[in-house]
């Protein structure tokens, strides 16, 4: 604890918020049994680095948000607080699903009353925040709308401490240090939206010099003002701090808030976001890039690492046998024994491990109390606490061996395996018993191969699986690129087919599409329309197909799915989207297109289209003139075969309409309508 007078002399207590949960599943199965922020990084729990970073910055009060394994985090924090001069509060909430939820919780509890530092529980950094804080405060003094300062670090695009899957594109103004636009970048851009960036052209009017940068590591260290949690509450759909919040604030004209950045050089900053980053950051720590946060500065109380030449860090109580070889970049924890002729290189070995004779360990991360018996080979993998490798086991690269797994003698574990000793579904009920899989862990082994729960993460469901793979430990890009090329070809075919109108659509509208399909309620739709600044034209484009989707052309009457039943239920809703003649003409076009694209089979499409058109005519949603204009417009006559056939279906009805008032001449209308189309 710092002396009391020190706290009073500074005007305000510097507060920080740590998001100790990662809200993803990249470290599974290991994170099934413990929290991500407690994983040992060079034998020190990950969150200790974050605490240390904040302590150096002069933070006096910390709030730690945790969700999964909160009891473990809480216990750790309580213990840590004793030796630290910061006040650390743990906030547990089981409902937290994202950063956004945590910020809303923060706002609800009203814990923060001043500018604060927002970091995740996996940041490793030796930067000093004084200058950033000073800049932020000065900016706030001058301009209240500057609500946030992001700390960004420059690094080349291929840098090892850049997370491959989590790139980001920043549009910056170096003069005013303002961030103008933000776009997340995926490693594999399989859909159109991934490859495009749409930004407001006004940016170029306001800012004479604009930089678009892809060479920045975003380690998510932000200086936030009190408005930030409040803004999360206002915009209840914000989840991610970057993709939703920063993007949202910068693209919104209404809020009028600005976000600034601070670019750092000469300091280290990275986030352990994935197993691949775990590997990279471990190596950076061993190579002392994070100085003074290196193993021999003994962040953890009770540690006593010594630095030796060749970047070897060893506790005093380690027993090295006479013939073992400790090559470069090795960390060995207390009370570990290394037997004869074992060869260690580029690895971290935890406390109380027993490494047998002739064992070869390269690039591996071996946690506490692991037993590796004679003649084992371990390559580029993570082996968690209390695991046992019997004699002659080979672990190939990229494996995650979770807690208490035993791999039987002479087993070869294939590359990228994930093994766990947790019984299937044990998270829910602890009665389930572990069924070991002898094919994976050998006859005498204990454990099973872990497969990710299907559909557990609905947000990411359509995400390219490759984007997950690049974050895996030891993943080789070259293995991935071949497969990627095929995918890309098919994607570009799809693009060329896409119609002009659709091409200009951007992701928020796609989102709207999905929501429209889900809600279908006039009041909600109207709110939705206002919320997304879209007009009735856009809404029609979405609502009509949304309604048609519900129609099952082969359904029997009475099932509630025939064209007639669906239309009578949802038709009035469509009516609400249509107001004048132009709307009606457009509505007819949309209906036409939607039928053609929704139903593959021409006969089915006709079965839907004819009653729909009829229904809209009968209900006066589409008036006579509008239908005629639609029919005679050039736009309706062009198009795919299905569209042409659908138009033919309407012919008898048109003839009937034309007969009923044959006075009108069509040709003038045609021309007029062409003009409207081109608008």
């Amino acid at each position: 604890m710092p002396p009391k007078e020190k706290v009073e002399s500074t005007e305000q207590v510097l507060q920080a918020v740590i998001l100790a949960d990662s809200f993803d599943e990249r470290f599974q199965p290991i994170t099934l049994e413990t929290a991500r922020c407690l994983l040992p990084l060079c034998n020190v729990p990950l969150i200790s680095y974050t605490f240390e970073f904040l302590a150096v910055a002069g933070v006096q009060e910390v709030f730690v948000f945790c969700c999964s394994h909160s009891d473990k985090v809480k216990a750790f924090v309580k213990n840590y607080e004793k030796t630290s001069n910061m006040k650390i509060n743990t906030i547990v909430s089981q409902e937290l699903m994202s950063v956004g939820d945590a910020m809303r919780e923060l706002d609800a509890k009203q814990l923060i009353d001043t500018d604060f530092i927002l970091v995740t529980g996996d940041v490793v950094s030796n930067m000093k925040l004084d200058q950033v804080l000073e800049e932020h405060r000065a900016r706030r003094q001058a301009d209240k709308s500057a609500i946030m300062t992001m700390v960004l670090k420059k690094a080349s695009p291929q840098h090892r401490s850049r997370s491959v899957g989590d790139g980001s594109l920043f549009v910056l103004d170096q003069g005013s240090k303002e961030c103008l636009h933000y776009q997340p970048v995926k490693a594999f851009k399989s859909t159109r939206e991934d490859r495009r960036m749409t930004m407001n052209m006004e940016i170029f009017d306001k800012h004479p010099e604009v930089q678009i940068r892809n060479d920045l590591i975003d380690c998510q260290v932000d200086i936030c003002s009190v408005e930030v949690p409040a803004l999360f509450t206002e915009n209840f759909d914000y989840q991610d701090i970057r993709a939703d919040f920063v993007h949202g604030i910068l693209t919104s004209d209404l809020l009028g808030k600005t976000i600034h950045f601070h670019e750092v050089t000469d300091v280290y900053a990275a986030r352990v976001r994935s197993t691949q980053m775990y590997d990279a950051v471990s190596k950076d720590i061993i190579s002392r890039w994070t100085f003074p946060m290196v193993p021999d500065s003994n962040l953890q109380v009770g540690d006593c690492y010594e630095y030796r030449r060749g970047l070897v860090y060893k506790e005093k109580s380690v027993v090295l046998s006479r013939t073992c070889v400790v090559e470069e970049k090795v960390v060995i924890g207390a009370n570990t024994q290394i037997a004869e002729r074992a060869v260690l290189s580029n690895c971290v070995i935890g406390k109380n491990c027993i490494i047998g004779a002739n064992v070869k360990i390269d690039n591996a991360y071996i946690w506490d109390n692991v037993e590796i018996k004679d003649n084992c080979v371990v390559q580029h993998s993570i082996i968690a606490n209390n695991a046992v490798l019997e004699q002659g086991v080979t672990i190939n690269k990229g494996c995650l061996i979770s807690f208490k797994v035993t791999v039987g003698a002479n087993t070869t574990v294939p590359a990228y395996s994930r093994l766990t000793a947790l019984a299937e579904g044990e998270e829910d009920d602890s009665d389930a018993e572990l069924i070991s899989d002898p094919a994976v862990v050998g006859a005498t082994g204990r454990g099973r191969s872990f497969t990710e729960a299907e559909g557990s993460d609905d947000e990411d469901e359509e995400e390219d699986p490759k984007n997950k793979q690049v974050n895996m430990l030891a993943f080789d890009m070259s293995e991935l690129l071949l497969a990627a090329r095929e995918q890309e070809n098919s994607a570009s075919d799809f693009e060329s087919e896409a119609s002009d109108l659709e091409e200009d659509q951007i992701s928020p509208e796609e989102e709207l599409d999905r929501e429209v399909a889900a809600t279908l309620d006039p009041l909600e739709l109207n709110t939705l329309r206002m919320a997304t600044f879209s007009n009735f034209l856009e809404m029609r484009k979405r609502v009509i197909p949304g309604v048609l989707k519900h129609i099952d052309p082969v359904a029997k009457p009475g099932s509630g799915k025939t064209a007639k039943e669906i239309l009578s239920r949802w038709g009035p809703l469509v009516g609400k989207m249509i107001h004048d003649v132009d709307d009606q003409i457009d509505g007819a076009h949309v209906l036409h297109r939607a039928c053609a694209s929704l139903f593959q089979d021409v006969a089915q499409a006709q079965k839907v289209f004819a009653p729909a058109l009829r229904y809209f005519y009968d209900e006066d949603i589409l008036e006579e003139d509008a239908i005629l204009e639609w029919y005679h417009s050039k736009r309706s006559q062009q198009g795919t075969d299905t569209e042409k056939k659908l138009r033919e279906v309407a012919t008898p009805m048109i003839q009937y309409l034309e007969q009923s008032d044959s006075d009108e001449s069509d040709e003038d209308d045609d021309e007029e309508e062409d003009d409207e189309d081109s608008e």
């Binding site: 302590a55 840098h159 850049r162 280290y268 002392r288 890039w289 470069e328």
Partner: protein, 359 residues
């Protein structure tokens, strides 16, 4: 055990995070803390007090084992405590104990095991021995004297400057050292001479040194480290600062010092080291790397060079170990001494029991 855990924690954290670096600053902070610890804690016997100070000292030393000045100051304080208790004891038991305590006062003759045997009977006073109430204030007074010594260290060193530097000499130095800076400035008051400063990459502290010296009106030239050997033949004297002096007379000094000292030896040019006595450590360098600090390699090879840092290992040691053969003279606040005399200074200032702080 100690009541002032908050203050101790604070200093430990500062040392650990390297927010407090540099021998002089570290030594003063340590001394200040120890004065508080001794005056605020309850103790009645010698061993109690020694254990309190040792436990604090152990924590401070572990926080940053490369700042040897911390350990040195703790040892000086322990030495003072022992001396004061012995004095108090002898005055309390005027007659027979006097001889024994004098026997003790010559620590050279007591091996540590023998000391322990005797210590049971002699050093730990009986409970019924009543120390005079002035003991506490005597100890504090003695420690304050160390504090004064630390504060006036530059004065006593720089007063010897005119004896060492003569007119029209060319002096070479490396990096930035406050002691050397004061020393040269003092000499410049009376004499006119030229200074070559090696810049000491990658910290380039030599450049700051050169700026300071030229402000004082000294004719100063900055040379790159690579030019040291080339110009050494023209130099009359090499004056070095140091981070620490080890028991054998070896130096832990800023990187580049070893090269400069070796070049000087090649040309038979005298090497003079300016240092306060608080930098003299009773520890022995069993391994050249043992008291070194390896910094962030960023200044050697930028972290931005992403592709390269995977493939190469870069180390950036901050200090050099310079063996005593390269040093001709130490100028301390107690006068000039050859390296071979250092053992005597160690005996005078530290107790052999305090070389390690194991309780």
């Amino acid at each position: 055990m100690s009541k002032n855990n908050e203050l101790v924690d604070d200093l430990v954290a500062k040392l650990k995070r390297r927010q407090l670096v540099g021998s002089s600053a570290v030594a003063q902070a340590t001394l200040k803390l120890l004065i508080v610890v001794i005056s605020k804690n309850n103790w009645t016997t010698c061993n109690q007090l020694l254990n309190i100070v040792k436990s604090v000292g152990q924590r401070l030393v572990q926080a940053n084992p490369t700042e040897l000045a911390v350990g040195n100051i703790v040892r000086r304080v322990l030495h003072v405590i022992r001396e004061e208790f012995r004095e108090a004891e002898s005055s309390a038991q005027q007659s027979s104990a006097k001889n024994q305590s004098e026997f003790h006062a010559a620590p050279l003759t007591t091996s540590s095991s023998m000391y322990n045997l005797l210590g049971e009977t002699n050093s730990i006073p009986d409970d019924n021995v009543q120390y005079s109430s002035s003991l506490r204030s005597n100890i504090i007074q003695e420690i304050r004297e160390i504090k004064d010594e630390l504060e006036n260290i530059y004065d006593s060193i720089k007063n010897q400057a005119s004896l060492q530097i003569h007119s029209n000499e060319i002096i070479m130095t490396i990096g930035r050292s406050k002691t050397v800076e004061e020393f040269l400035k003092m000499a410049a008051v009376k004499r006119k001479f030229q200074v070559l400063v090696a810049e000491s990459a990658p910290s380039y502290s030599g450049q700051d040194m050169a700026v300071e010296l030229s402000k004082a009106g000294i004719e100063t030239t900055v040379i790159p480290d690579s030019a040291v050997f080339a110009v050494m033949s023209r130099v009359n004297k090499v004056i070095l600062g140091t981070h620490a002096v080890l028991a054998n007379g070896g130096l832990v000094a800023i990187s580049g010092t070893h090269m400069m000292a070796a070049a000087a030896k090649h040309h038979s040019i005298p090497v003079v080291v300016c240092t306060g006595l608080y930098k003299l450590s009773p520890l022995y360098p069993y391994d050249e790397d043992s008291f070194n600090v390896t910094f962030n390699p960023d200044s050697v090879l930028g972290f931005e060079e992403g592709d390269l840092i995977d493939k190469v290992t870069v180390t950036n040691p901050y200090y050099d170990y310079v063996s005593p053969d390269f040093v001709n003279l130490f100028i301390t606040n107690q006068g000039g001494h050859p390296p071979s005399y250092l053992y005597r200074l160690i005996v005078e200032n530290y107790d052999p029991n305090d070389h390690t702080f194991d309780l």
